[in-house]
Amino acid sequence: MRSRAVIAGYGFLTPIGSTPEAVWESLRTGATGIRRIQAFDASPLPCHIGGEIPDFVAKNLIEKSYRKSLNAMARPVQIGVVASQFAMQNMGLAKGAIPPERFGIEFASVMGATELNDLARMSKVCTTGAEHPVDMEKYGRDAVPEMPPMWMLKYLPNMPACHVTILYDIQGPSNTLIPNDAAGVEAIGEALRILRRGAADFMLVGGSEAKINPLSLSRFNSFFPLTHKNDAPATAVRPFDRDASGTCLGEGAAAFGLETLDHARKRGAKLVGEVVGYASGMDRGHTGAGLARIIRNALADAGITPADVDHVNAHGMGVPRFDAFEAKGIAEVFGTSAPVFAPLSRFGNMGGASGIVELLCSVLALQHGELPGTLNHDHAYAGCPIAVHTGAPRPITKPYAVKTSYTDLGQCAVAVIKKWDE
């Protein structure tokens, strides 16, 4: 019989809280993390609101022995590592507590954007204004020596996982998945498969993303469907709503421990949930039919039917065409009364971290026995034939939740989780 994969604990760094208690309290009370961007003056950009982690000071939070490495860690790397520390602390696991060779890691993270000051000196010696080409002779000779020596390593996608393997002596399988908003759930799925095939006993699964920086925010403003409702940040992102106007970016990180039930029992772990099913695939052209197929595959992997599911935890970007696609896929499997919860309107779109953070919201909900409402869903939209749960928390009535995720190109990944129960 295949191994069961159980969740042993979690850590968060999000716009609405950086402890499980704070995140849960914000979810219950309907607090939002979306504000006018504080980190820098982003007012020249059409969208300058987003979800930021407040008061994150890396040197106060990073493991002391590791402070010296901070200058080689960009913000997405820092928050990924700190969220992993929080998860390990939440589970009461110190370095060496899990046998290194049976301990693996799966992370969802993408290439970080360069900090402007890393290129400031370089640019001054080889550019003369926007109208002129970069002087490549000066670039090679005078600018390159001004590049911080560790520049490249600060931003590589696999650096969160790399640092965490060093911090906690993780020597098993290690992978970093990059398909943006689908990457988090894909990382969960790959970790689940690794545990089932016996290649590890314990997997740390995490995601981190920090796009509230001048380069990423400018780039996403140039092509991504971001809202321009800067005057009302708290209500700007409207999942499945008639007045949806686009999404915004968020930064966040989270990590959790996923282990075989046998291993958890042997070490007497306190458990908070279970991952029971997963599937992924493409929905070319965002038809909804592909997403529906993938949801069905995930339910089949879990061995359950739509009737067993308390709620669908949707990505709910607040972009009309994407919301319509996701709702169509969900409705095809669960019907038009499908109970849907979408946490993104509290965080913004956290890209690689979104799958992990959003799924953990449902882990908390199943654990606490109530489902928080979706923020900013005030008016049903005919294109989204689903029953979005809004308002006050309602009791959880069934043991399973389904997490859907997708990208702007149609990559979809779906996970099924279960309330922890012997």
């Binding site: 820098f40 003056d41 982003a42 007012s43 020249p44 950009l45 490495s69 290194p100 060779e101 693996g104 360069t114 402007l116 000051n117 290129l119 400031a120 000196r121 370089m122 640019s123 080889c126 550019t127 204004g129 926007a130 970069v134 490549m136 090679g140 000779r141 390159v144 590049m147 520049w151 490249m152 390593l153 590589l156 696999n158 996982a161 790399c162 393997t165 060093i166 020597q171 098993g172 992978n175 970093t176 990059i178 398909p179 943006n180 689908a182 790959e190 380069l215 400018s218 780039r219 092509f223 991504f224 599937a279 992924s280 695939g281 493409m282 070319r284 990208t407 190109l409 149609g410 990559q411």
Partner: protein, 431 residues
């Protein structure tokens, strides 16, 4: 019984050829692809040469959608070429063939290049010369006017696989990893596991990457990872040689079509070989340097052998990661000796990178394609530019000249920054 996974198609776009046959022939003849940079003016850079893909035209592979995909980075364009060739080779290009929801994509995949002039000029405009710090508001105001909204999405790392799924009607799992230089081998290993687990029947697996842009080269130069043998680019990549001084950066894409055995047999597919073993470990040691004794590499190789249910004496050839950096080549040699013991001296080991350069996220798949043809033709590629033995590297590296040898099982190593270690085992297919 677990599902068996075989290779039924291959495609490559590399500096040594745009077909597997050309790539392999170049390797056997000991030809190098390394030469001066042509992609941008790099004459004053610390390193002035690379291993570049030449004469590639996306139009060779795409007709109707050429305009749409011309905005993609070269990494994605190479991947489109390699995937089309691999699917055609496997007889799976026609979308009416097979259940496309059971066919997916898994790549080790890099980023599209940043818009270098827009980025540098905008930082320059925003930087106060007195403090040498950039004002974010001025930067945003400058760059938002010049970014190309068709090109910018293509910088995102999920676009390569997404386009492959869309263009070639592959609706199964569509995944990419980025574990530095181990990425495409890891992608092939995980894609194999997806097929074994029943998540898919066919996967287009491999990688695509190009870091041949000014910031990529500068980044590697500042880490002192690249060879700076500017007076002799063609001999710069010299894995396992005492005088090695860093790797030679390359670019490209490679795809292997891997398929569940019964699925392949049922449709009468040509079988190139069987993927039998996969090992994946972390060093948990340092950001760039491998563990000096190859701690993680040892277990990756041992896990792959165990996964393939093979003994060390079954391995007839090792295609090394062999980057031509001091640290990799000595650590890899130590790890091979730790796994294979005294036998290590009897197993030919070579580095494709001596001729091909280092294709970064696409390195592992290009090297696996070379292994497939080496196993089928019975001729092993050499390590070229090997002149001065290093006492720390004392294995049989097939110095400079290809060698005839029949091999039934091949081990291919790929290691990456961040302590990522991947080993794959390829076996001659037997019913």
């Amino acid at each position: 019984m677990r599902r068996r996974v075989v290779i039924t198609g291959m495609g490559v776009i590399t500096p040594l050829g745009h077909t597997p046959a050309d790539l392999y022939a170049s390797q056997i003849e000991g030809r190098t692809a390394v030469g001066p940079f042509t992609r941008f003016d790099a004459r004053t850079m610390p390193t002035t040469f690379a291993s570049e893909v030449r004469d590639f035209e996306l139009g060779t592979y795409l007709k109707h959608d050429l305009e749409r995909y011309s905005h993609c980075g070269v990494n994605t364009q190479f991947a489109i070429g390699a995937t089309k060739e691999a699917l055609a080779d496997a007889g799976l290009l026609d979308e009416r063939i097979g259940d496309r929801t059971r066919m997916g994509v898994y790549l080790g995949s890099g980023e599209g290049a940043e818009d270098f002039p827009a980025l540098m000029n905008s930082v320059g405009v925003a930087t106060d010369p007195a403090t040498m710090t950039a004002d974010p508001k001025k930067f945003c105001a400058a760059i938002i006017d010049v970014l190309d909204r068709l090109r910018e999405p293509e910088v995102e790392m999920h676009t390569t696989i997404g386009h492959l799924g869309t263009l070639f009607n592959l609706d199964g799992p569509n995944i990419a990893c980025q574990t530095a230089c181990a990425a495409s081998s890891q992608a092939i290993g995980e894609a194999m596991e997806l097929i074994r687990d029943g998540d898919a029947d066919v996967m287009a697996a491999g990688g695509a990457h190009s870091m041949l842009h000014p910031l990529g080269i500068a980044g590697f130069n500042r880490l002192t990872a690249l060879s700076q043998r500017n007076d002799s680019p063609r001999t710069a990549s010299r894995p396992f040689d005492l005088t090695r001084d860093g790797f030679v950066i390359g670019e490209g894409a490679g795809i292997v079509i891997i398929e569940e055995l019964e699925h392949a047999k049922k449709r009468g597919a040509h079988i190139y070989g069987e993927l039998t073993g996969y090992g994946s470990t972390a060093d948990a040691y340092r950001m760039t340097d491998p563990h000096p004794q190859g701690k993680g590499a040892i277990r990756a190789m041992a896990d792959a052998l165990k996964d393939a249910r093979l003994r060390t004496e079954d391995i007839g050839y090792i295609n090394a990661h062999g980057t031509s950096t001091h640290a990799n080549d000595s650590a890899e040699t130590a790890a091979i000796k730790a796994v294979f013991g005294a036998q290590a001296y009897n197993i030919p080991v070579s580095s494709s990178k001596s001729m091909l350069g280092h294709l970064i996220a696409a390195a592992g798949v290009a090297e696996l394609v070379i292994c497939v043809l080496a196993m089928r033709k019975g001729v092993l590629p050499p390590t070229i530019n090997y002149q001065t033995p290093d006492p720390e590297c004392d294995l049989d590296y097939i110095p400079n000249v290809a060698r005839e040898k029949r091999v039934d099982h091949v081990l291919s190593n790929s290691f990456g920054f961040g302590g990522q270690n991947i080993s794959l085992i390829l076996s001659r297919y037997r019913d």
